[in-house]
Subunit: 337 residues, 2 copies
């Protein structure tokens, strides 16, 4: 992805391995600062995932794979390191996909660093293919809504939901993106707007409350979001608010697409009721850029994800093409392992 | 309403007239400071409305009535003062109701101060009756969702949406209120949470993105919101995001009520397409407490209201009882004038 630092455009990825360290663009500091966080061991990788230095399901999966690779390289207790990494966050499927992939490869005698590279390259390849598959859904003149950040930051590079958008823009299609700010952590405002601005893609930031209004007024032609976990029947856990957008899209006759690689699919559970939903700290709701926004002593509830039932989802944009939920069980044969 | 200042509970209203000045609890400073803004003339009243020192349709109507009263008392050009006040904000019907009421009364030879008192007392009486009418809709054990602030701050006292909630709690019903924070201006977090806390009513603040999730999980039994303008067919302009909540409520089989006095009904237009929607400054989306939340140079869109079509609204809680949209044209005969 393009990253503008002090006016100079650099080509970067959001997570990479360098001299045995796992390096991250620190997503807590964006959009104001591009700082690099360096994790020297699996404990520091776990810290980076838990504290959302890295977030976005595919990027979390890559971070997890690198963390297990470090455990292998550093001759640590693989089970202990894996369990620590697994415990960082409960919802994103890729976290478990990444850890399981690495444990199997290492157990089979593969070099940990090579195995991690294989996993990362598969994710990058999937995102490129998601871009190609999804690009054809975007017409010249389309106004697109996206929620949260399912961009290069969330996936090492290209993105899931943003990959087709990047490609459509690159092909010269005239497009416009409405970006939900995505409270409470403002991933839309801080991350998606930052990515789109760096790429020069026309966009406008809106409050999460406003997307229904723009749908109702005919200002949105297509909705594309990412995913944290997709079950066998197509139910999809994604950033809190996604369910609201999906219901509103259907109500307004607007196609609603979920873009995700196979690493995000959980073939072990049938439907969304079984997905654990992380509830995060009240402080994320009660404080806004470090300042209390509510009276002291007020309680808050802060579910970080919701589940969009498959019936609201037009189709899934995957590295194996654009498919409906009936085709999901059949994708299992392609799953990385 | 109860206002806690330095640990001491005071009984206050949000707008009042005192020695010829119009006084307001400055709603920009809540919940951290209870400051009083003093408007000495119609220009300062217009300033208070325009800059949202006072907001909420019924309270805006009262402020407007007081401003016109000041013009009368101070022997100003009534037409000029009225036009200035009318121009402050475009969506809330009460602004025009309040100005028109005062102009008619003054033209008929009434004392401006007495006329303003008559208007304010009518609003207070309406809110009391809305409380009584709506209270019966709230069952013991109900979990209620509200959006924005339709409380005492928005209506001089009692509130519209919050009036039934206050009364149900006062009668000893066990209730719980989910408060949408209501981006971009956070009236839920700053104002509704502050009012509920002062009254001791159990509540939790949530991101606007989370209310759909709680509806889907069966955690919300009833939704009550206020209104800025209701047309003859029942279409309702209210704070941005209201439309989203209404669609989600219907999708989840949850009753959705709009609480408003007759001063909010616009009997002159047939449906919501004719309601002017204010678009406010991009800065409200891009900045919070002086800190940019998005990259510089990013654009934002900031519609302050949306229109909920009548088909999503279960009923209207008015001072003439709980009515469906078919009954609205018949309410016209009761309209204040």
């Amino acid at each position: 992805m393009k990253v503008i630092i002090d006016g100079i455009i650099k080509e970067m990825q959001s997570v990479w391995m360098e001299d045995g360290n796992v390096k991250f663009i620190d997503q807590r500091q964006l959009p104001h600062e591009v700082e690099i966080f360096c994790a020297r061991d699996p404990e520091e990788v776990a810290f980076a995932i838990r504290h959302m230095i890295v977030r976005g399901a595919p990027a979390i999966g890559v971070a997890a794979a690198y963390g297990v690779a470090q455990a292998g390289i550093q001759n640590r207790d693989l089970k202990q390191a894996s369990n620590l990494i697994r415990s960082t966050r409960p919802t994103a499927q890729d976290l478990f996909t990444g850890v399981d992939f690495m444990l199997e490869r290492i157990k089979a005698g593969n070099d940990p660093k090579m195995a991690a590279s294989e996993y990362v390259n598969a994710v990058l390849d999937s995102c490129r293919k998601i871009g190609e598959a999804g690009e054809s859904l975007i017409n010249n003149g389309h106004k697109i809504l996206t929620h949260c950040n399912a961009g290069a930051l969330a996936t090492v590079d290209f993105g899931t939901a943003l990959a087709p958008i990047r490609l459509a823009f690159g092909k010269g299609k005239y497009i416009f993106v409405y970006v939900d700010e995505t409270r409470p952590r403002l991933q839309g405002a801080r991350l998606t707007a930052w990515e789109l601005f760096s790429e020069g893609i026309p966009c406008a930031l809106i409050a999460d409350n406003a997307s229904g209004h723009f749908m109702q007024r005919g200002d949105i032609d297509i909705v594309i979001v990412g995913a944290d976990r997709i079950t066998q029947n197509g139910d999809t856990a994604n950033k809190i608010g996604t369910y609201e957008k999906a219901v509103l899209a259907r109500e307004n006759g607007i196609p609603f697409y979920v873009a995700a690689p196979l690493t995000t699919f959980d073939f072990s559970i049938m439907d969304g009721r079984a997905i654990p939903i992380e509830e995060r700290s009240e402080d994320e709701v009660l404080n806004f850029t470090g300042k209390m926004i509510a009276p002291s002593n007020i309680k808050a509830r802060n579910p970080a994800f919701d589940v969009t039932p498959a019936r609201y989802i037009t189709a899934y944009i995957t590295e194996y093409g654009v498919v409906d939920n009936k085709a999901i069980p059949d994708l299992k044969k392609h799953a990385i392992s």
